[in-house]
Symmetry: C2
Subunit: 485 residues, 2 copies
């Protein structure tokens, strides 16, 4: 018979709960306050650290919370990319709104189940409202259905599965998928997971602005039809990861309508710029597409862990996901209400709605919109600065908030440039005020600046440009001293 | 140009952060304290509530946090199944450990990215350690790889995709999958999502204890092979949702080895009972299988949102999930270290490791084990009590912590029993001390008692049995007064 003292140990007293939270907040608050002063990354000893941690056995006995907090806040958390800081201009920045941390504290503590409407009608409806707001932002109609997922990859997967089921319900092994060569790899992964043969995913060449070229697409689709294949899905980008390029959505929508192809938009990075005038101009036609991926943990500055998927034909989303068990509660028949387990791959899952709803409710949409406008302006400013710098080649002007560039001194041949720019990026990052990452465009190593944190303001962009200038000067001196120019 | 005051509004001051948390805790602590006194459900007006909420537009301006907390704690949260309370004996209870709420508070606030090892090596390793502990609990070898998912459905999906890729990498439309007729519907859904034709998923009849019968399985596999189909996957249950039945894992493992079939175990509900002696006896052979789903939000009492998947052949998991982008950071080459995005469908996602690691670290595994032992004992006790009650038919003795029964007064024909038991369940639940749900077994409506909350102790089980007795007596009086007996 188990010891009653240990079976009740997991249930904390009010004092114990408050103490845990107070102790955690004693570390969290100074941590967040110090974010602008923290280095932009500190992973040099990360592998050693991890290998030491590997020795940790399943704990037989407990450890005081203060020791755990020491380990986390003094050793493990600092040894990371500072993804929450203002200098994180890498990949696509996630946000880190503290408001969401509070939402999750509440959601976990009350532990309600929102996967089935009947189990928590009011809370499920909060989440449904968030989806409806997103649909309205995108110009989608009332019959739209959608879900909050764990991130963009899962949303893209949901879209691929929905399109496959809608267009090729049975044998889909001759089904083909189209995207530009700039598409995020999660789309390829979604196809892999959904069982679409790897050879059936076409990467159509993009144009000089890294946008999917409708002519090239049309040609490829026609060619595949002649071969007896079954084109069924086009995935457009509303903000590529490489350069923030936005495919010509309106033209694509027209083409896809005509060809009876499902048009999905991967707007994980860019879709929330629909809150800005600039974004609405660039994404004209997004309201004519079939489905959209959009990530609150990117464009709404939330912490990692919340993506979103909208599907214009809500019934198609349900057909791709609905399977029943005899032990399940009754599902809603009122069309205005939604059972998330019927339209998503998940049954049990966390209450993601609150972490999105709470920040929007607390602040209204205004500060989110102005932050996105500010990020657009900061990216434009950085590109303008880069344009004035000698020997800097702007590879991609910001369509949204990504700028891609490289250092190209006249004296050096093209073949040396990739190495040179790799060194330049390291030199910039070593100053640890910003963290930039690269990508490859047409065989060229290019450095990206992606502005998307609500913590990034003009001062950090100035620091970024200073560090680029100083690092370029440093490399120039090196090149001169080695006799190159 | 955006107003600087609104762009900085999202960044809270230390005082604002503390105030939000204090205000939330003022509601959370009394909420958790009052869980045992709260009704087991209060969803009667849920639809009205939700329909009213439907009118909520995207907020233009902010709302004071205190008003938001009023709405949540006074109206929306109470109008739910009390999934966190001790009387929740329905479906498979999720837990609701407050310790995990604190873990998520920290994880969200620091917003580190663990999907790629290089981005947060120490934190990624914490999560990897949790996976290793789980593998050790199951008796899996060192080369096991695994991930924490959002729940059992996603874990089962990962297993299906991995098995499909390992056994039928190209054309899998003739591939067939086997499970008992008691299998959780998420396995069927996983097959649907993975593109396995619906007709290729076999539900093999279970035996009188609701276990998959190896003979029936062997027969079906042989028959399918004769038809030119390609059997590739068997999914066994380690704790069915209906009755907690555990399939004969050792026999199945032998059969699958011989037939070169992938053997996946859906242990979402049951696998953590491997921490108990009773569980290890029942699940003998689990260490000889290919993959296991196991849900910390069930057997480790965490809040909703954390499932797990283990795959014995870690390389197979990677082959099913690995796709690269040119903008990605370098992946680890040291085999001891792991990039979660390489072995799971997700790229960005939350830091799920901390919410599992922290409670285990704080308390050691002891209280988890004794809680599971206590739940086994409580279920056994409830079954023994039911066995002494006249006209109660025990449909499933607890193998783990589910008991299924029905009321069967001699005077009534079989055809009346389903309705009668539906009314009995409602009568029990209407007392609101416990919440029970039903399932269908061989056409019979049966009432389930599933004990899995760390908050459920002997006192609540006594209340449950009192309410069953009282409700049976009530129905008996009704039957008598209508002249049935």
């Amino acid at each position: 018979m188990p010891d009653q003292s240990t079976t009740s140990e997991l249930e904390l007293s009010p004092d114990q709960m408050r103490r845990l939270v107070d102790q955690a907040m004693e570390r969290i608050v100074p941590f967040i306050e110090s974010l602008p002063r923290q280095p932009s990354f500190a992973t040099e000893r990360g592998v050693d650290l991890a290998l030491k941690l590997l020795d940790e056995p399943l704990p037989d006995s407990g450890t005081p919370f203060s020791e755990i907090l020491d380990l986390l806040f003094e050793r493990l958390i600092p040894a990371s990319f500072n993804t929450a800081g203002p200098g994180y201009l890498a990949y696509i920045p996630g946000g880190g709104l503290f408001q969401t941390a509070v939402a999750d504290l509440i959601a976990d503590a009350v532990n309600r189940y929102v996967g089935v409407f009947a189990a928590a009608p009011g809370l499920a409806q909060l989440e449904a409202n968030v989806i409806r707001w997103f649909a309205e932002m995108m110009g989608y109609p009332a019959e739209t259905r959608g879900v909050l997922s764990s991130g963009g990859s899962m949303s893209n997967f949901g879209a691929v599965v929905t399109a496959r089921r809608a267009r090729l319900p049975e044998d889909f092994l001759r089904g083909t998928v189209y995207a530009s060569d700039q598409i995020h790899h999660s789309v390829l992964k979604a196809c892999l997971l959904a069982g679409i043969p790897r050879d059936n995913v076409r990467q159509v060449p993009s144009d000089r602005s890294f946008r999917l070229a409708p002519d090239a697409l049309a040609e490829r689709v026609a060619q595949d039809r002649r071969l007896g294949l079954e084109p069924f899905l086009v995935v457009a980008s509303a903000g590529t990861t490489n350069t923030g390029a936005i495919d010509p959505l309106q033209e694509l929508a027209e083409f896809c309508r005509h060809q009876e192809l499902w048009l999905h938009v991967d707007g994980a990075y860019g879709a929330f710029f629909m809150l800005t005038e600039h974004g609405r101009k660039l994404m004209r036609g997004i309201d004519e597409t079939d489905s959209i991926t959009l990530d609150p943990h990117k464009g709404l500055f939330l912490p990692y862990g919340t993506g979103g998927l909208l599907v214009r034909d809500g019934a198609a989303l349900e057909r791709a996901h609905s399977v029943h068990g005899t032990y399940m509660p009754p599902m809603q028949e009122d069309e205005r209400l939604v059972d998330f387990c019927e339209i998503s791959p998940e049954l049990s899952r966390s209450f993601r709605g609150l972490r999105v709803w709470l920040p929007l409710k607390l602040h209204g949409v205004g500060p989110f919109r102005s932050n996105l406008e500010e990020k657009l302006r900061l990216a434009r400013w950085a590109a303008d600065q880069l344009a004035t710098m000698p020997d800097i080649e702007l590879i991609a002007e910001p369509q949204l908030t990504v700028t891609a560039f490289r250092f190209r001194p006249d004296a050096l041949p093209e073949s040396d440039l990739n190495d040179l720019n790799q060194r330049l990026m390291q030199a910039i990052n070593q100053r640890k005020r910003v963290y930039l990452t690269h990508t490859w465009l047409n065989g060229r190593f290019v450095i990206r600046i992606c502005v998307l944190s609500f913590r990034t303001h003009q001062d950090r962009m100035e620091a970024c440009l200073q560090d680029i200038r100083a690092s370029v000067d440093e490399l120039r001196r090196e090149l001169r001293s080695s006799g190159v120019s």
